[in-house]
Symmetry: C2
Subunit: 474 residues, 2 copies
């Protein structure tokens, strides 16, 4: 380490770049930046620096490159995989982008919006709505997560079925490369075939290849009519048949198709006593369906009713309720949205964020449920998720006879059963949440050497010094 690279010299220069008031070093100040959202990873940092501009971010990264200081790009720090906190070494500079929260431009005619990385997702949604447009990315953390993190993890959420993942919502990026050079790729074009599509490298790279400082996002026409239904069905197979039917008859309108098992619903009813289920009896599985339309709900609600009547006529759906008001729609959505909280109230369970081809979901669940039941009699899968995307949050609650401590000790063994089964069906062990620190080792079991080598080669090419979010993804 040269003199200019001693920790105190780096700190001094960081203060000169962003102002002393934007560099935190006291343990109490660092706490919110070094512990992850699920409190699973508690790291240490040299400091947290909060740049207020692209130029400051460039200068910080140049400083890190010059002094070989590891850096951790960070937004709202809501990663569920430990991607946005530093490791234990205490040598890394956390570069937190939250101050860069300007909406640079809204272009309604081009249906685009240029935003800085620190913009909170909900603020972006609101700005789009104010311009009579929709920015469709929507997920549980939207009140605190920032778009730079959404981009870096290629976030999913509840409207992927219609609008795609975050990757599909981006037209251009501005990125500070690990060298400190700035790539100005803020294009607002729907078609541009002039060489390699470089933005794709940085989307979903979890901050290991560069720091995204701004993005051009796609906007969409704002839906005027929304219809929501909750259906009770006999089996996962019937849920998938219903999905096919709804896609055939309402394809372009289908914005959400969510599955939850009866056990998941029971947990919600137990821990959220105000919850209202529109049925007098229990069913094995439930589907929540949302249609959206630029035409009004007067057209789309009867369409959803007629599709469900058709499905009941065919014996696919046993009973169904279509919301007749916004409050009824919200009550139905709450059944699905409260699953995460309800299962937490029941005790800690073992979580898996997996995807398989939609055509394999039924068999995947039967095979995996059976394998888990054989290994752990009485085990209780809390099955729910974005089934229209093949994405299941397949969380495993302990057998009632076991205790929490003993169950948590089985984490790795349970995970292996689930992930091996996912792999057998050609699936993904991280559908939405990324690898971060959490699945960085685990992924080595499932990716080919060719694929890992390609990823490592890309990493070495863009970040030869290895300073960019070390210990994540690779």
């Amino acid at each position: 380490v040269s003199e200019g690279g001693t920790p105190s010299a780096v700190l001094q220069r960081a203060k000169e770049i962003v102002g002393a008031e934007n560099v935190f070093t006291a343990t109490s100040d660092l706490a919110p930046y070094v512990v992850d959202a699920r409190k699973r990873y508690s790291g240490r940092a040299l400091a947290v620096a909060r740049p207020g501009s692209v130029a400051e971010t460039v200068a910080l990264v140049k400083l890190c490159a010059e002094t070989r200081t590891p850096l951790v790009p960070q937004g709202g720090n809501t990663s569920l995989c430990g991607a946005s906190v530093p490791d234990q070494a205490g040598t890394a500079l956390v570069i937190n982008l939250s101050r860069m929260n300007r909406i640079r431009q809204i272009d309604p005619l081009n249906n685009t919006m240029t935003v800085e990385a620190g913009c909170i997702l909900a603020a972006i949604q609101q700005a789009a709505a104010d311009a009579d447009r929709l920015f469709p990315l929507s997920l549980a953390a939207e009140g605190s997560c920032e778009i730079g993190g959404n981009l870096s993890t290629n976030a999913g959420g509840v409207q992927v079925l219609r609008y795609g993942n975050t990757r599909d919502l981006v037209l251009g990026l501005e990125v500070v490369l690990p060298s400190g050079e700035l790539w100005e790729g803020l294009r607002g074009l729907r078609k541009d075939n002039t060489g390699y599509d470089l933005k794709q490298l940085f989307i979903g790279a979890e901050g290991t290849l560069g720091i995204i400082t701004a993005a051009v996002l796609k906007l969409f026409p704002k839906p005027r009519g929304v219809a929501v239904a909750f259906a009770g069905l006999d089996s996962v197979g019937q849920v998938l048949r219903l999905l096919s039917l709804v896609q055939a008859l309402a394809g372009e309108r289908l914005t959400a198709f969510e599955l939850m098992s009866d056990f998941a619903l029971r947990l919600v009813l137990k821990h959220r006593p105000g919850s209202q289920v529109p049925f007098a009896r229990e069913f094995a599985q439930y589907a929540l369906i949302e249609l959206s339309d630029t035409q009004t709900a007067e057209a789309v609600t009867p369409l959803l009713e007629s599709i469900l009547a058709d499905a009941m006529g065919q014996g696919i759906v046993i009973d169904a309720a279509v919301a007749q008001s916004e409050s009824q729609a919200a009550a139905l959505w709450a059944l699905r949205e409260n699953v995460s909280e309800a299962q937490g109230a029941e005790g800690r369970n073992l979580k898996h964020d997996v995807a398989v081809p939609i055509s394999a979901i039924d068999e995947f669940l039967r095979v995996t449920d059976a394998a888990l039941a054989a290994a752990y009699p009485g085990v209780r899968p809390v099955t729910f998720g974005h089934v229209g995307d093949g994405n299941l949050h397949y969380n495993i609650a302990r057998p009632e006879s076991s205790n929490e401590q003993a169950w948590l000790a089985e984490t790795k063994a349970v995970q292996k059963i689930v992930h091996d089964s996912v792999a057998r069906f050609g699936g993904s062990i991280s559908a939405e949440h990324g690898l971060g620190q959490l699945k960085r080792e685990e992924i080595l079991r499932y990716k080919s050497a060719v694929e890992m080598d390609l990823m490592r080669a890309i990493k070495r090419t863009l970040d030869p010094l290895g300073i960019m979010n070390p210990g994540k993804v690779l």
Copy 2:
């Protein structure tokens, strides 16, 4: 060159790999493989080899890597930029994938289809339709272009507005890397966040980073109702206002929104005498609008009529005709589709495939038309294109006073005026067609050094020997 790498030794080994009947060396046999679709590039080749399987493709690429033999991946050879033909050196092996034309799997429940690179686009569309699904990629060459080429150029076409470019229609790829290693990335997942999204590297890379041998494509619900209208308007500004209105009221149904100028329409009427325009008078600009719906045309045709009535009430549209039958719809589409042929019949013009932000189209056209008119009095722009994507085929016909030879001599000068203007509006000088050989030098004027360096670094990392489609893109 080692003994195993002499041209005759390479040929001998290639014959052992794919069979002598699948290696062409005679000049007459080579002709269709070494001259491009527009007959602008006439190259030479060591041979054309036509592998029948992934294993044979792997073996050919290993042979090329081992012997440092340049190779040119090729599908239907319909590139408009010379990307799929060899250079003049005569040392390259053309690896033509046309024999690998198997549809490996259709999975209607997962809405996916696994196809080999040599499948002709129209055959894929038909197979999807037979499974009651839509594969939406559609373009003029669909009867002969192959999906490997569509993927390698990230092809666009007429339905990008709703379904995206080819890039957006792919879930997984199988790729033979320049080393001859096989990357098996044929996933059929809508969500998979387990590291870098490697398939993005190969899509749109024009065969410079690897050979795509197969892909998992997305399928969509088949539209049951289609409505088509042709509208006459006073200006490009009004066309863009109409686009906004249609998006607001029919957003999810809008599958095409095409612009053509009056001059473009006159060329069609002159050179295709059977063409029928539904108006008694001329307008400055025309828009062709298509809505599609999984519900029947009984719903979507009245919707389009009511939107156009609204637009006429607001003074945006002056006159409009909505097709009342499939044959009327086809006749309206023919007006747009025959522009390319009609302008050819009028004499050779200077073609540009550009994109700008939709909000900039009006000013871009005014400024660029004026700049061209100042430089070349009497010049006649043939303006048409996928205006809903910001993509214009802005082709410039000579002043009637000039002659064809003199006009073609102005190619570079005209191109500079157009492309400089595109750059000023933040646009792309190749929206749909790629760089190939045609725009490989030109792009250096418009991309930053940082971006070119990143592209070159990626190229070096994946293809350190530089054998993969040399002289294209970079």
